[in-house]
Amino acid sequence: MSDGFDSKALKVDALTKWFGPRCPRCLGGEEELEKNYCPDCGTVYALRDLSLTLYEGEVLGVVGESGSGKSTILNCLYYDMEPSSGSAYLSSFEGGSVDIFSVSAQAKRGIRNTLLGKVYQNPLQGLKMRFSAISNVAEKLIAAGERNVAAMEARAVGLLGHVNIPSFRMREAPEFFSGGMQQRVQIAKALSNNPPILLLDEVTTGLDLSVQAKVLDLVKQIQRELGISMLLVSHDLGVVRMLADRTVVMLDGKVVEEGLTDQILEDPQEPYTQELVHSML
């Protein structure tokens, strides 16, 4: 990359994702859409030419109403979903010179298993509910080629201890855990390979306040200790205020405003951002 990749951990370029057949009307231009929806053919444009940059060691908050495309970004980056068009570059993959959407399925698995970690909003998606918590953490290590049981067990026990899962419960399956514990197991799993980038999708949604605070503390602590870059998707501005250095505001699949979190929350420029901030309780 000519513009230098020194401090950028992730660069997303013109990412687009649509669901539906598309028709001449919606191909004609954005002004034809109702919000992000084509009234003629029913195509939904979840992401429209979305570009963003995540710098090394920073936490980038992504806020916006439901349906604005926040989770779709993470789904595309973690290969849970195929983007319709656009590209993304990781500084940790080929020095940021190769589009991570253009590589082979095997290379994609490699990126997913070693360079990224993701915490899903719903632990059902991120964990194997019937396998023990230790095995869940070890899964990513096995996928990355580790074949030593003792080493994997030690790593899993260490990480689960770090996220405050009591040692006498580590051999239990997450289906018997509370929601907060499941979420913490997910975080331990996402961290197992020391990924340079962590994708967090509504990590605290659905948790009660005290558990929310614990999970947030944990994320903050991890970020300070390990210097991991994080892409934090949330519709909770309180969470974003506490964790994110910078924030992008999304609406109908596009970024409407971008800047330092304090700036966005204290002095919003765009009408939608103003509405969002003023809706905060």
Partner: protein, 279 residues
């Protein structure tokens, strides 16, 4: 004229045999890969060896000699029924001696006599997909095989070590064939897994209910999955001696005397045990 001779040679019509042989050729060409095939209705129920039976019927010729094993035994009802069906529709000779047979159809055991070049071992398979336990979707497992993504198979073993302190697969311990495909070896005991490695005989595996055929060609590398610090181990048989023939170092059945509670051992492979007694 006996009613059975109304059937075509080896029960099947020639078109069915050809379809099966094509699937077998593909399976041999890609060791360990599960080839789908149009599993036929058979005169025995699915789950009772229809996969193995279809392989045997598609391969058998007038000069073949057949042995059928059911969990080590030649005389169990299932083995006898299969033998009678093949014999009745082909008129070929059957045998109990593994060294004498050209085709050996087996459920859950590989004979103790080491197999020779030119022999074919047909194994009956209930569950051909080694990743099914971790991934219920066939669409997904096909992709995992294509991408050689086998962490699921290792994860299942890892979970057993976490739960029980060791790998606890009683049978059907997954193997890596030719450094490429992870394969279910059918529910043979772990004791039989090493016999697949560089076997001189062709090994064919058929799953009738699941409609899959796969193969280990002669002299192919077959490695049981394991971890660096938990190497693959066969069942402990040291010190066990057959109460009938005195054989050691073979897979044994445990016979418990209910009155005294003491246990005795006996060769699981009945024809091997008998042969040892004669010699």
């Amino acid at each position: 004229m006996s009613p059975k001779s109304l059937y075509n040679f080896a029960f099947f019509d020639e078109g069915s045999k050809r379809e099966l042989r094509r699937a077998i050729l593909k399976a041999v060409a890609i060791p360990g890969y599960q080839v789908p095939f149009a599993s036929r209705e058979m005169p025995i129920a699915r789950g009772w060896g229809t996969g193995g039976l279809q392989l045997t019927l598609s391969l058998v010729g007038k000069d073949d000699v057949l042995k059928v094993i059911d969990q080590g035994a030649d005389e169990s009802v299932n083995a006898v029924s299969i033998k009678r069906l093949v014999k009745g529709t082909t008129g070929i000779r059957t045998t109990e001696d593994a060294r004498d047979a050209t085709i050996i159809q087996s459920r859950h055991r590989i004979p103790e006599f080491s197999l020779a070049r030119g022999q074919i071992l047909v194994l009956q398979v209930p569950m051909p997909e080694p990743l099914r336990f971790v991934e219920p979707s066939e669409y997904a497992t096909k992709r995992l095989h294509a991408e050689k993504e086998y962490s699921g198979a290792y994860l299942a073993l890892f979970e057993e070590i976490m739960k029980y302190g060791r790998v606890s697969t009683g049978a059907d311990h997954p193997v890596l064939v030719n450094d490429r495909y992870v394969m279910a070896p059918s529910p043979i005991p772990r004791f039989d897994n090493p016999k697949m490695n560089r076997s001189k005989a062709l090994i064919l595996l058929g799953a009738g209910r699941e409609k899959k055929i796969y193969a280990v060609p002669p002299f192919t590398k077959v490695a049981s999955l394991d971890f660096e610090d938990h190497p693959f181990e066969v069942e402990a048989i040291a010190g066990r001696k057959c109460r009938k023939c005195g054989a050691e170092g073979v897979f044994m059945d445990e016979i418990v005397d209910e009155a005294s509670g003491a246990s005795d051992y006996q060769c699981n492979d009945t024809s091997f045990c008998g042969a040892s007694r004669v010699i």
